[in-house]
């Protein structure tokens, strides 16, 4: 069973009240992969990510990480297992300093690992320059770096990134995606949610296309890039 997936979602259903947002999706992520979930507004990408971190409870289905069922766990237990999330909209603690935000990222650890902090500052030197600054006064791009850096502070095995490109200047998006690649190359498995399909597929090994709560299409990045449906819907090409 050497190739059993690190992370596996099976027949997941999630609802908001009587409205079904996720209608039975399955996906898997293997160790060392970068996997992307693409989809239009409202497709259910963020819902999926929040359900993985147990901020929302699944209605049905299972989510397993290293064989352990997550759906029965409270949200604060998830990061300790090795799954860390940089949420949509960054959600940095605005009235705390950059460094306090990073320290909170390590809250699940018994003690602060200086090496990890050094690594995060190497990935995003901008954060070290501004470590005493209030997070709310950073630019959008810098806040995204902080959100990713903060999620790395727990030394995760798998990183969940929900739209790291949201509302950020293209040049910064490029820089951030480069660092995501760097993070992955250092052994962190990445599950990346994006609307920016082009950038995501350039980075990812494989992808899933989420279409109003269902997986519409999946395959390697090359397959997705070549697929007419993906080209039409997400890459702005008309066939």
């Amino acid at each position: 069973m050497s190739d059993s997936p690190l992370f596996e979602i099976k027949d997941l259903e999630v609802a908001y009240g009587s409205i079904d947002a996720i209608k039975g999706i399955s996906l898997e992520v293997h160790k060392g992969e970068i996997v992307t979930i693409l989809g239009a507004n409202g497709a259910g990408k963020t819902t999926t990510m929040r359900t993985i971190s147990q901020l929302h409870k699944a209605k049905a289905g299972s989510i397993k990480f290293k064989g352990e069922e997550l759906t029965k766990l409270p949200p604060h237990k998830i990061v300790g297992l090795g799954i860390s999330q940089s949420p949509e909209g960054r959600r940095v603690f605005g009235i705390l300093t950059v460094e306090e935000n990073l320290m909170l990222g390590a809250f699940s650890q018994k003690k602060l690992d200086k090496k990890t902090l050094k690594w995060v500052y190497e990935l995003f030197p901008r954060l070290e320059e501004r470590r005493k600054q209030l997070a709310g006064t950073l630019s959008g791009g810098e806040q995204q770096m902080l959100a990713i850096g903060r999620s790395l502070m727990s030394n995760p095995e798998m990183l969940l990134l929900d739209e790291p490109s949201l509302g950020i200047a293209p040049i910064l998006v490029k820089a951030i995606f480069k660092q995501i690649k760097q993070i992955a190359s250092e052994g962190v498995t990445v599950l990346l949610v994006e609307q920016n399909a082009k950038a995501a597929l350039k980075l990812a090994d494989r992808g899933y296309v989420l279409d109003v709560g269902k997986i519409g299409f999946s395959g390697t990045s090359a397959e997705l890039l070549a697929s007419e449906r993906v080209q039409e819907a997400y890459l702005g090409k008309k066939s």
Partner: protein
């Protein structure tokens, strides 16, 4: 000038008590966006609990050890009541509409008030003289040992709380939970535990405030929590509700304000002026003196 310094001393004393009680309102609001209307009644309950500990447990001893023990035990008992209150009255309604929690808070307030009346009776009780009635006269200004004690102990507790919240990991977790609960959960913070800690801290500071009220005013009644609770709540709003240093500042300022009104105008006008002050501050600075976090959670 005598009146000035006398009322300064009096104002700092009641201000300390307001500040201790205001911290309970502000910390709970900060994390839960909830006004714990039962907090004032918890403060009143603490004075009665202290009275009973003094007569039943300490055998009416007033040694230093006994007094410290009374404070400690009353704080522990009230922290326990605080945890139960949160579990029963507020946790089940966390996802419910805001109004349900308000009704529950008012209900809890009435229940605690009636509970005090059932256990200790409706008549005024006299709080024991735990601290020797010593006072000093300096140039016509009378300052009592109790006043000195209330001020120094309150300041010490507030400094300790400030350091805890600003300098420790758990303190950072409390601040993070007050800003964004879901983001805090993603950090691995158990927000339920943070809320329990908030209730423990708020209730035990309120308990100390309740004992101070007993020591300073001596007469304690089952429904006094309503009045002190209201003053402390106003102090929390003055300082900026949700803001911890704000509650400290608001409490002190309100105490001084009331003392000066009582000294220079008349104590019968203190309440009216308190509300005028509140309205003026809310017009000029709707977020309170130190409150800056306008972003309300939805």
């Amino acid at each position: 000038m005598d009146i000035f310094f006398q009322q300064l001393a009096n104002g700092l004393t009641i201000g300390s008590i307001f500040a201790l009680v205001a911290l309970g309102y502000t910390m709970v609001y900060g994390v839960m966006r909830l006004i714990n209307f039962a907090h004032g009644d918890m403060v009143a309950a603490s004075a009665f609990v202290g009275l009973t500990i003094y007569t039943q447990v300490m055998g009416q001893a007033t040694s230093l050890v006994a007094v410290v023990a009374i404070f400690f035990l009353a704080a522990v008992v009230m922290a326990g009541v605080g945890i139960i209150l949160e579990r029963l009255a507020y946790r089940p309604l966390r996802e419910a509409p805001r109004l349900s929690a308000v009704v529950s808070a008012l209900g809890a307030s009435l229940m605690i008030q009636n509970g005090i009346m059932l256990i200790w009776g409706p008549q005024m009780r006299i709080f024991p003289e735990l601290i020797p009635n010593i006072s000093w006269e300096i140039n016509g200004v009378v300052i009592s040992l109790i006043q000195v004690l209330i001020l120094t102990l309150s300041l010490a507790l507030m400094v300790a709380l400030y350091l805890f919240v600003e300098k420790t990991r758990m303190g950072a977790a409390i601040r993070a939970s007050a800003i964004d609960q879901d983001a805090a959960r993603l950090m691995g913070i158990n927000v339920n535990k943070i809320i329990a800690i908030i209730f423990i801290i708020g209730s035990s500071l309120g308990a100390v405030g309740g004992l101070f009220i007993g020591l300073y005013y001596r007469g304690i009644t089952f429904n006094m929590g309503w009045q002190y609770g209201l003053y402390a709540f106003i102090a929390a709003i003055l300082g900026g509700i949700g803001n911890i240093p704000g509650a400290m500042l608001g409490g002190m300022l309100l105490g001084l304000f009331q003392a000066f009104i009582a000294g220079y105008v008349s104590s019968t006008w203190a309440d009216a002026f308190t509300f005028i002050l509140l309205i003026l501050i809310l017009i000029v600075r709707p977020t309170g003196l130190l409150g800056e976090r306008v972003a309300e959670k939805v």
